[in-house]
């Protein structure tokens, strides 16, 4: 088993590097590979060099950051809630970020992408913490079912507010569209650098709570009996998952399905040890999101299809097949 995991990790990492290279080389304007290479090592003022420098490099950076963040956040959420269905949308975090961006536009008149990002991260963080806190206040405590219900209810309420504001206010709608449909495209590198600290912090929290999550998977009482501090684990995983999703969604708009599907792929490959699970989900998330983005650039030339759409179309059949494996999802 040990060798298999190492092999999987190496394979996934190599694929991630290939995805990064593909993302730099492929686009809806065909640029010869030689020009791409020259633009990377010695940028000049030629058109090709500018496109690589200002479009493809920022886009690839964002894809790497968002893919890794969403995948790790998915692992944390699913383990923490012991619910294989937990993902940013169901937990309400995505619509919290959307609401933050809408508030930034309507109430504070913010009109730049890096400006939205702060509000998006803040909205996601507040919503995520609200879901966990409200669920803890219910009779059944933070049981998987309550968490999912509270998350779905908050998600629906916030989306409703967002849609209502957008329906009533055409000007906000124009600006919001810019944020929500761009996915990885058209994001300046500033956006990625703004969210990078949140993502690093989130990844650190994930690493710290990995052992605790292993213990928690055995059940709360067993975990306490083993000397694991479950309150610390819970807080670390909750804060980590919310930071990671908030940062990714704020920067790239709501991208569904990466956070839901990648943890299932990872679990099928390396089992349920959280250190392996987290390590493998980083490259897998990058491959999944960047790969989808590359396909989206060329599949409907000259139009682009945003990465979130491709992740859904590609990921759904794989997830459907995984769902049939009896050990993977407990009924």
């Amino acid at each position: 088993m040990g060798w298999r995991r190492v092999l999987v990790l190496v394979g996934a990492s190599v694929s991630a590097v290939l995805a990064v290279l593909a993302s730099l080389a492929v686009g809806n304007l065909g640029i010869p590979l030689g020009d791409v290479w020259r633009a990377l090592v010695s940028p000049d003022d030629s058109a090709h060099s500018l496109i690589v420098q200002t479009q493809r490099i920022p886009r690839t950076l964002l894809g790497v950051a968002a893919g890794a963040a969403l995948a790790v956040a998915g692992v944390l959420m699913q383990s923490l809630t012991r619910n294989p269905l937990a993902d940013p949308r169901i937990m309400g975090v995505s619509s919290g970020a959307s609401l933050g961006v809408v508030i930034a536009i309507t109430l504070f008149g913010v009109d730049t992408l890096p400006g939205y990002v702060w509000f998006g991260v803040f909205g996601a963080f507040v919503t995520g913490m609200l879901v966990y806190t409200l669920a803890a206040r219910t009779r059944t405590g933070s049981s998987p079912v309550t968490l999912a219900l509270v998350g779905a209810a908050l998600d629906a309420s916030f989306s409703a507010v967002v849609v209502a504001v957008l329906t009533l206010d055409a000007q906000t709608f124009e600006q919001y569209r810019f944020w929500v449909i761009g996915s990885l495209a058209g994001r300046p590198a500033d956006v990625t650098f703004t969210v990078l600290p949140f993502i690093v912090a989130g990844l650190l929290l994930a690493v710290i709570s990995a052992r605790g999550l292993d213990a928690l998977a055995l059940g709360e009482e067993v975990a306490v009996g083993l000397g694991s501090r479950i309150a610390v684990t819970r807080f670390g995983a909750a804060a980590g998952s919310v930071l990671l999703t908030g940062a990714a969604v704020a920067a790239a708009g709501p991208i569904g399905f990466v956070g839901l599907a990648v943890p299932h792929f990872a679990r099928a490959l390396v089992g349920s040890d959280h250190r392996w699970l987290l390590a493998v989900s980083v490259p897998l998330g990058i491959v999944f999101l960047l790969g989808a983005d590359v396909i989206g650039r060329v599949i409907l030339l000259p139009d682009e299809v945003r990465a979130g759409v491709i992740t859904a179309v590609l990921g759904a059949p794989i997830l459907l097949l995984l769902v049939r494996r009896p050990r993977l999802v407990t009924a």
Binding site: L85, R137, V145, S157, V163, G256, L321
Partner: protein, 334 residues
């Protein structure tokens, strides 16, 4: 749990929950109040007295206004009830509160079919039947891949739902802007512009399924038992579950095919009803009433709140149902 045993004939008996009856009565009163309020509020305000007069055919100036407002309210009641029932059946059978038609792909299947119809410029008359096929097809895939119960069902459902929504987006992106927007409006779901014809279709489906619903109401009680226990007392677990899931899907698909995806009713109504009736499983009758009440109130608000702009009813069902459900969840702590 207090139960009343009703035995109208020697061979027939069923039990009623006292608390469930109470909740049902309260919900009916609330629906009557909501309908009266909805008839009187609008661009012209009608005194409740005149509304009642118009209903009982006593001459009044407001006859025409009330007549105009009635079809949409009837439609809201019927669609809400159908969605409430659908949610209660799916949640009961899968024992998962997230199993509702808009989470497991029925709405998205209907939405994909509808957007293809609109973008292809096909006659609008073929839209409801094709949307129905889309919804049923999506559910068939989900049932084939994830057995009828538990997380596997919902996970397969989410996968199908997300993929169908993505395909819909591809269809809309590729379409002319006008068509894309029309498709988008249909998908969000609105009761504006529909009336008795649509209500009749959904009402017939509910009527046809009523015997199944009575049987399912009893069956859901034994669903609370573990499968092994249920089998031991002679329940055929598999077929029964399939029948309930399929009826839920049919109800949802018909309602969605007529008016578009009205969000959240099917998810929230059964959960709200379960807490009002203090029951273990989502109670069918109360879920239908809650769905109807939620949809009527939401549609009235959608119609009047920002007049003359009308919001999609799905926005208001979520805005009203979401916070109320959270309040019920949090209040339950003791």
């Amino acid at each position: 749990m207090t139960r009343l045993v009703v035995r109208p004939a020697a061979a027939v008996s069923f039990t009623l929950h006292r608390r469930g009856l109470l909740a049902g009565a309260g919900l009916i009163v609330a629906i009557v109040v909501a309908v009266l309020a909805s008839l009187s509020i609008g661009s012209t305000f009608v005194q409740p007295g005149d509304v009642v007069r118009a209903i009982f055919d006593i001459p009044t100036w407001a006859e025409k206004v009330v007549e105009l407002r009635t079809p949409r309210i009837v439609l809201a009641l019927v669609v809400g009830a159908a969605l409430g029932l659908a949610g209660a059946l799916l949640q009961g059978v899968s024992r998962n509160p997230l199993a509702s038609p808009d989470v497991i792909g029925v709405s998205q299947g209907a939405g994909l079919a509808a957007s293809i119809v609109i973008v292809a410029g096909a006659p609008i008359a073929v839209l409801p039947p094709l949307a129905l096929l889309g919804g049923l097809g999506a559910a068939a895939v989900v049932l084939l891949f994830g057995s009828v119960r538990g997380n596997r069902f919902v996970l397969a459902g989410i996968a199908v739902a997300v993929a169908l929504r993505a395909l819909t987006e591809i269809v809309i992106v590729g379409a002319a802007p006008v068509d894309g927007q029309r498709a988008q409006v249909w998908i969000v779901g609105t009761l504006a512009g529909w009336g008795y014809d649509e209500a009749l279709v959904v009402a017939i489906v509910i009527a046809v399924l009523t015997p199944v619903l009575f049987w399912a109401g009893r069956a859901l009680d034994t669903s609370a038992l573990s499968d092994d226990v249920a089998r031991a007392i002679g329940v055929r677990v598999g077929p029964r579950r399939l029948v309930m899931a399929v009826s839920g899907v049919i109800l949802a698909a018909f309602a969605t095919a007529q008016v578009g995806a009205v969000d959240f009713v099917a998810l929230a109504a059964p959960q709200i009803a379960r807490r009002l009736a203090k029951a273990e499983r989502p109670p069918l009758f109360c879920a239908a009433l809650t769905g109807a009440l939620l949809t009527v109130v939401a549609d009235t608000a959608a119609r009047t709140l920002f007049a003359p702009t009308q919001l999609p009813v799905g926005v208001l069902t979520a805005a009203l149902g979401g916070p109320y459900l959270i309040w019920l969840l949090v209040r339950g702590k003791r």
